[in-house]
Symmetry: C2
Subunit: 394 residues, 2 copies
């Protein structure tokens, strides 16, 4: 299949290109390299050094036979339309959004930028599909965070309900917890509408929190490695824990530390997106997958990282810090995730993956140590900016 | 109370300023006069001539004692923040969005513009409230169209449901039918979130389709009159029917003509917004009102306009045309609207209001006749642009 990856330079986009090319798919992609700039803006850098796009292209050419790359911004409709016209994709994977809740919470300008960037990029892709490749399949990355933490089971996208004696299948209500997460809610509504009125087909992936440093396809070529962020904006929780562990910094669950979320290793994210791409929905179908390996609470995960670290000879402490977010810290959480299992998803156990990650990151202690100050969050949901303090343990 | 009206030059904003000032409230407002430009872009003009803002200000000064006006764009955060800082409002009524479904469906640029304009304006207002007047009450105009036409009763904003043996109160799922309506859904999610994290208070009004030419406060000063559009972008259905009736053009329900919606006269919209403003919610409360007088189907309304027209000596025909929209043409529709009735809303009967409207519009036959060609829609939901044909009646 011909797969276009919007955001091919990113944490997920770059390994996905390799994973799909290794399976014989033809790849094209675009990026405007914003992720590199956002992390610089956060005062940080990737723990794992990443190659410039030109070197990435050379390595990809050597190992997988090349891909078509054009630098450009998905906020520019002409760029998107021309990319699709030239490549005529069978599938489009949209990874070109700004993926950070804290970044969107910095101030009005970051909130506006995150929402407009994400919404406009998706609208541009939908219109370009309609006009250029209406049979293509859009694989759109959403987030499990769209649902929030309701006191109900969370179905995959929609549910049948009875209300005052009548029955209907409706989208499951969304209660997202940041301007970023809300941008994904807005996208979901927009994508569903485009499928309905134009007969487009889409898989909208409500993805859990991804962690991990590698997929097998990267082998030992450092140019194929993907980034690993540990700043408060772009470092997700397990990735930050692992960076903390390797430099002897305590792992820092927020608040009560009982927040439950769905998580999955990077290699599972690749496996699931591949399953979605290779099993497209029908014309007009808007399909939602809840994509995660298992639900964990963030303290439980800290203990898993500690255990994996101790096996590698690391001395790991866990210390809770003030929660910069406004979120429930103890809550019911029971989301479905059957659709991908039905397609054959084989979950990777978390513990082994943590071992691989820590071993990878131990090689880059100095880079993490250099930016040690980004490991404690300061962007608060109330609009202030102030580093979280450690909480005293009773 | 001190009430700031964003969009004070518009169809609703201008009469609202008069209505509130007549009740003794202190008014300030802003506008960038975009509505005038949009209607020009649609090749049309207001059936009722409207005065330039400077003349409007002079008339307002004479009848109600003046208001503070600054021209500016609510997409500009500095403008919004300074307006609130200078005026210190108790209530903010946000009428500064682009209110047209067909306009948003023209092409990718209009879709992107409508969504970004509407979302950014609301984000700017929320952040400016947080930073300048966190005790103020935001009265935000949404639309009944956010809900779509589910096969269930529609509650006011949220509902208690049972699902797999657990119970929770959740936002009622939204299934909007245009990029414009979706922008309002996005806004609703954003406003609810701001109330939750920052303790802001808001009334989010899911308003039905407004019709009408006047409120009593306008008296006989033509400078106080508000606009009345009849083009496909900015003319709502009853307003277009009435313009069609006075020039002998058939009234044109779309498709089967059994679409059911909530409607309300302009004077009821003013009455309801006044009730919301004068009865603010508590801090942190996000309150939703479904705001309409009654549910009608669009053919039934055409017959009401015909009957009112015949009393005035007009010969009125009703002829269905191809539906440019993609929507259900026969469906269940039973939305609640108790919250405003509980606050004392006294609905105005539709038939008398139609009589007033037709009499007002008969004075402006020549202006409507001049733009007769805008009365048949051409913007189609499938992305093409082609005038609707009359349907043959069996």
């Amino acid at each position: 299949m011909k797969v276009y990856i919007a955001g091919i330079d990113g944490y997920l986009g770059w390994p996905l290109a390799q994973c799909l090319a290794a399976r014989g798919h033809e790849i094209a992609g675009g990026d405007c390299l914003l992720r590199r700039r956002w992390v610089t803006e956060m005062g940080s850098h990737s723990a794992i050094p990443i190659a410039p796009m030109r070197e990435r292209q050379a390595a990809f050419e050597k190992h997988f036979g090349g891909f078509t790359y054009r630098e450009g911004n998905v906020q520019n409709y002409a760029f998107v339309k021309e990319a699709f016209r030239a490549f005529q994709p069978d599938a489009i994977v949209h990874l070109a959004e700004c993926p950070s809740a804290p970044y969107s919470m910095i101030d009005v300008h970051h909130a506006v930028w995150t929402q407009t960037n994400n919404i406009v990029s998706t609208l541009n892709i939908l219109f370009a599909m309609r006009d250029v490749c209406p049979q293509a399949h859009l694989v759109k990355l959403g987030t499990m965070g769209e649902y929030g933490t309701p006191n109900l089971d969370i179905p995959e996208g929609s549910f049948e309900i009875e209300y005052r004696g009548r029955t209907e299948t409706l989208p499951f209500p969304r209660q997202a917890g940041s301007w970023y997460h809300l941008s994904k809610v807005h996208d979901s509504h927009n994508v569903a509408f485009a499928c309905k009125i134009w007969g487009l087909r889409s898989t909208d992936i409500m993805q859990g929190v991804v962690f991990g440093t590698r997929i097998d396809e990267m082998g030992d070529d450092p140019r194929l490695l993907t980034r690993l962020d540990f700043d408060e904006g772009f470092g997700t929780v397990i990735n930050r824990y692992c960076c903390q562990a390797v430099i002897g910094h305590p792992l820092t669950p927020f608040g009560q530390g009982q927040q439950r979320r769905g998580f999955l290793p990077l290699r599972d994210s690749m496996q699931c997106m591949t399953l979605a791409i290779e099993n497209p929905p029908g014309a007009g179908e808007y399909r939602v997958f809840n994509q995660f390996e298992e639900v964990y609470n963030v303290t439980e995960l800290a203990h898993k990282v500690r255990a994996a670290g101790e096996e590698l000879g690391l001395d790991v402490k866990v210390r809770r810090i003030e929660n910069p977010r406004l979120e429930m810290e103890e809550h019911y959480y029971n989301p479905d995730h059957e659709h991908l299992l039905d397609l054959g998803y084989q979950p990777t156990p978390v513990d082994g993956e943590l071992h691989v990650m820590l071993a990878d990151l131990m090689e880059h202690r100095a880079r993490i140590e250099e930016k040690r100050n980004v490991l404690i969050p300061a962007i608060r949901w109330d609009g202030t900016r102030q580093r979280s303090q450690f909480l005293s343990e009773e």
